[in-house]
Symmetry: C2
Subunit: 325 residues, 2 copies
């Protein structure tokens, strides 16, 4: 088959569409013929050699895909062949075929095309596992989402709303903020022009956000703690602003608050399967009902992965970029 | 009545046993004639002017007591007069009488004397609210308790064991570690001589502690994160080692871990009442059954509060010091 390979870690140009061996299914795995693969920010780090795949995972980039099952591993029923699925992956999505543990497969939700489903698994699993399973976001609470226009951000707005929360977002352009508003965000903060701590406090009668979903890490840590309400939960899922920062424990203690940091990729397969099962049971019905919709920026040929990475790095994307082999 | 007063914040000698006005019960409050008041580390900070009482609270030191109800406020039944109780307080314990919201009263557990119960409310509510309600400590998990010989520490060992956890403690002397072992701690770490990160990793096959109950704050933050297991929860309840420290968010993220910081005193009355109700329902039966026992270092006259504070500051105490008016 063909896949995106990286001979030497580096810039987008380090990636090329090359012939590689077909994957073989291990026990409990299926082979999916990829219809589309989602591009994630972590892919850019992996390309640069900064985010190596976990032990045993494919060294091909790509954390999610959609496609059709073409082969099954030992102990799996043959009648799954032909099934249309989407999946979270430990790696291997930027390819014509990928091996996937069955627990990480989900059906294509009604009303979503096979291609569009290629960008659905990672964002829904990331958002659900953090907002519900980690932060226990509840009806009537305020959720502040940093990077509201991103793939995760546009999904977090919708899932947050479906959970009954009120939504504030930060983004870097008016166009992204407009899109966030259309998805249900009430408080729109341009981080180039506004102080998000002040804005969320103004919007909440001085109380702050009950939950913050953060993609910046170190550079926002202190302001995020300031922006939390009493009993607030800060959930860090990205470190675009660095990895180490001073924590004011007393500020956290006075609020009875907490700081969580999570990644989906590093979880054991059993946890990934549990998350997929919950997402299918909870989020898929919202998609069927039209309450939650995947936000796709564009679909590009997989051979143009370099251009896709440049667009994402430039902040020129709202929602997801998909790559088709 | 008489109470301990602090005319000018300062050392232990700043406290004196002086005549002050009797407290009057607000709506939903009772007056308790104090049998004994527990000494807490936060009392030392309040004496120094570093931990002012919350708005509306008594400015007399003292976060817990036992005693007898002598008077009830509006809308409360008169037949509660004469009831023996223990209580968590926002302040006012170092006195002959104190006003207490009814939700913060608990009965004296079977087998505990009225005096000994004076040191029971704060430690049981602190430990239960953090180990169960915040950290969700579960059967078979490892709990690392810093300051295992303290009032909170000796109670956390016992409640942790009752929850089915395995216990590691740090303390500063062999005598304290021996006492911790007698209460059920399996891993005993002398922090003057041993590295707690290495010791807890050695004891857990390299995995680390599932939950850490920490009284040090800043000075232990980085090592506590190192000592956490995957999905670990660090709960900071004291800041004897300072309030600000660098947090390695990436270390936390790789473990899917969290940092919580809590204080009992700052919680609203409704939460304090909910905690007391849970403690009475869950911990009191353990005390009745002899599974959990209050650990009392000594009982002193309240007029000797200065000496009690010196002993606590010197680390010369295992379990609780009680003051009797």
């Amino acid at each position: 088959m063909h896949a995106i390979t990286v001979t030497e870690p580096g810039g987008p140009e380090a990636m090329s569409w090359a012939k590689v061996p077909d994957p073989t299914p291990g026990p409990g795995e299926v082979i999916v013929e990829v219809a589309a693969a989602g591009v994630n920010r972590a892919d850019l780090l992996q390309r640069q050699g900064l985010y190596p795949p976990p032990p045993g995972a494919s060294d091909i980039i790509g954390l999610e895909c959609s496609g059709t099952i073409t082969n099954v591993g030992a102990a799996l029923p043959l009648d799954r062949i032909g099934e249309k699925v989407c999946a979270i992956l430990a790696g291997g999505g930027y390819a014509q075929k990928v091996a996937v543990p069955v627990g990480q497969l989900m059906p294509i939700p009604d009303g979503v095309s096979l291609i569009d489903a290629g960008g659905l698994a990672e964002v829904t699993c990331t958002v659900w596992s953090n907002l519900d399973m980690v932060a226990n976001l509840s009806e009537g609470e305020w959720l502040l989402i940093h990077g509201g226009g991103s793939g995760v951000g546009t999904m977090a707005i919708q899932i947050g709303r479906a959970l009954g929360a009120r939504i504030a977002v930060t983004a870097g352009s008016q166009a992204k903020l407009d899109r966030c508003a259309a998805l249900g965000a009430e408080v729109l903060i341009n981080y180039h022009e506004q102080d998000f701590v002040q804005e969320i406090k103004d919007a909440t009668g001085g109380r702050g956000a009950n939950v913050i979903l953060d993609n910046m890490g170190a550079s926002y840590l202190s302001r995020n703690v300031d922006a939390l309400a009493r009993d607030g939960r800060l959930v860090v899922i990205g470190m675009q602003g660095g990895v180490k920062a001073e924590l004011d424990i007393n500020a956290l203690l006075r609020k009875n608050a907490s700081v969580h940091a999570t990644s989906l990729r590093g979880r054991p397969e059993s946890e990934k399967a549990a998350i997929c099962a919950q997402v299918e049971r909870t989020v898929w019905p919202w998609i069927h009902a039209g309450v939650v919709t995947p936000v796709i920026d564009r679909v590009m040929p997989m051979a143009d992965a370099a251009e896709a990475h440049r667009l994402l790095a430039d902040g020129a994307v709202t929602g997801k970029i998909l790559l088709t082999p």
